[in-house]
């Protein structure tokens, strides 16, 4: 067992790492959410080149490993003369990656709304923007929520990858501890529990959002 005074060193460090993990989660969560809408709308654009280019970018990002993307941002980019701080690289890498997945969520949810809804909007002489804002998006958003909940949990787990190359998130902190105090089993179990707590909080948040946006459902 880990003794009490070892815990007194481990827990503060774990908390410190957890703060970094949470920061990454919130910042990248918001950024990838924005990217999802930019990407999703681009893929549905009436302008063909916009559709093609966005499709290509999204498929490229989805089709390559996050880990390799992160390494590329940290190690390859400087060789090309662009130096970005590891923390920033982590944020860019995670946001692009999960934004690409999110784009598909946005696109497919908007396309899932029956054509009759758009047609009713046209028959009521609403403009395309009005139809999107009052008819399509509110319904599509409800469909998006569970998938976005999943995506946020994936993002949380994705943040662990950045410890390998970049920042001092909670995984990285625990790895340090293993080197100094040993007790691998307990430390890693503690880490699992810490991820679970954050992940479950995300799940509860999204369940609450789903309830909030469920008007009209029976």
């Amino acid at each position: 067992m880990i003794s009490i005074d070892v815990y007194s060193i481990v827990l503060p460090l774990l908390l410190e790492g957890a703060m970094v993990t949470l920061q990454l989660l919130v910042i990248c969560g918001i950024l990838s959410f924005l990217m999802s809408f930019i990407g999703g709308f681009s893929r549905l654009s009436g302008i063909a080149p916009v559709r093609w280019v966005s499709g290509l970018i999204i498929e490229f990002i989805r089709g390559t490993s996050l880990l390799v993307q992160l390494f590329w941002l940290v190690f390859a980019l400087p060789l090309l003369g662009v130096n970005i701080a590891p923390g920033l690289a982590a944020i860019i890498g995670l946001s692009l990656n999960y934004g690409a997945y999110g784009s598909e969520i946005v696109r497919s949810s908007i396309q899932a709304i029956p054509k009759g809804q758009t047609e009713a909007g046209i028959a009521l002489n609403m403009t395309p923007i009005q139809r999107m804002r009052s008819i399509i998006l509110p319904q599509a958003f409800r469909i998006m929520l569970p998938s976005f909940g999943n995506l946020m949990i994936e993002l949380l787990k994705g943040t662990a990858l950045v410890s390998l190359a970049l920042t001092s998130d909670m995984t990285e902190k625990m790895m340090q501890m293993r080197n100094t105090v040993g007790h691998d089993t307990q430390l890693l179990s503690l880490l699992l529990i810490a991820y679970f707590i954050v992940g479950y909080a995300v799940t509860l948040l999204f369940r609450w959002l789903e309830r909030k946006f469920s008007a009209g459902r029976v």
């Binding site: 047609e119 009713a120 009521l124 002489n125 008819i135 319904q139 009209g216 459902r217």
Partner: protein, 276 residues
């Protein structure tokens, strides 16, 4: 005017010296290689009620959707209240209309769909006020007053705070009718408004449409398979088959003395034998 005299013979409605509110001219519509409408010439007069009948797949829905701007004609023109719908006049030339032009012209048209197409995430009242506020620019208060008046007319005012999913099909369709009426269109299209309903709620919706037809001076185009309803409500019956108007005239004539063999055959299916 010779044209008006001809038109008068086709309808039980008193056209007087009115100009048509809607004019289809040589309208053709193809989906890929299939030509669905093969040259439609059709006039609808302000306040006139025309029932469109005809077999499945004959192009009735397509004809209405072209007027609602849900589908674009392959060739030909449609005029609404003296303005081209799918074209703009630029220096005397007809050029394809843009969204802005469509927006201006289609304000005169309203449509009730077979499957209601209510907005499921909005209350009944909101369903009826959203477009008046957004598209007509009414204040929320004005829109709600209008909406309540129309919901009352279709007998759905009590349900104003409910969501569509909690209503029966017939009730949803009555709300959809109110929602379209709130916009005060000059022409209202009904595309088989009762075909998706349980038999027991068909009557209430037909009754609402009959009531609307009695009041007001809105022109109506009713696509329906309910022959007795068409007979009762319409000033003119328009028989569609194979993408063209095969025969039209006042109900008394069309139902009792159909001229074409196709129409005779068609009416037999509804036990309406032309000669009897």
């Amino acid at each position: 005017m010779v044209e008006t005299q001809d038109a008068n013979a086709l309808t039980a409605y008193n056209i007087q010296d009115k100009d048509p509110i809607v004019k289809y001219r040589e309208i053709k519509k193809a989906f890929g290689d299939t030509e669905v409408l093969k040259g439609i010439d059709f006039d609808l007069y302000p306040g006139e009620r025309v029932a469109i009948i005809g077999p499945s797949g004959s192009g009735k829905t397509t004809m209405a959707r072209l007027l609602m701007t849900l589908e674009k004609p392959t060739s030909g023109t449609i005029e609404v209240d003296g303005r081209y719908l799918w074209h703009k006049e630029v220096k005397g030339q007809l050029v394809p209309a843009d969204e802005k032009h469509l927006h201006e012209v289609r304000g005169d048209i309203g449509m009730v769909f077979q499957h209601f197409n209510l907005f499921p995430h909005m209350t009944i009242l909101k369903n009826c006020t959203e477009a008046p506020v957004k598209a007509l620019g009414l204040s929320k208060k004005e829109a709600e007053e209008r909406a309540k008046e129309m919901l009352d007319k279709v007998g759905m005012l009590e349900k104003a705070k409910d969501y569509p999913a909690s209503l029966s099909g017939g009730q949803q369709q009555r709300v959809a009718i109110a929602r379209a009426l709130v916009m005060r269109p000059k022409v209202m299209l009904f595309d088989e408004p009762t075909s998706a309903l349980d038999p027991e709620t068909v009557g209430e919706v037909l009754q609402v449409i009959k009531d609307i037809a009695k009041q007001g001076d809105m022109a109506m185009m009713l696509i329906t398979h309910e022959m007795s309803f068409a007979h009762e409500v319409a000033d003119r019956i328009c028989f569609f088959d194979e993408g063209i108007i095969q025969e039209q005239g006042p109900p008394s004539q069309v139902f009792t003395q159909p001229k074409t063999e196709r129409l005779q055959e068609f009416l037999k299916r509804f036990h309406m034998n032309g000669s009897s």
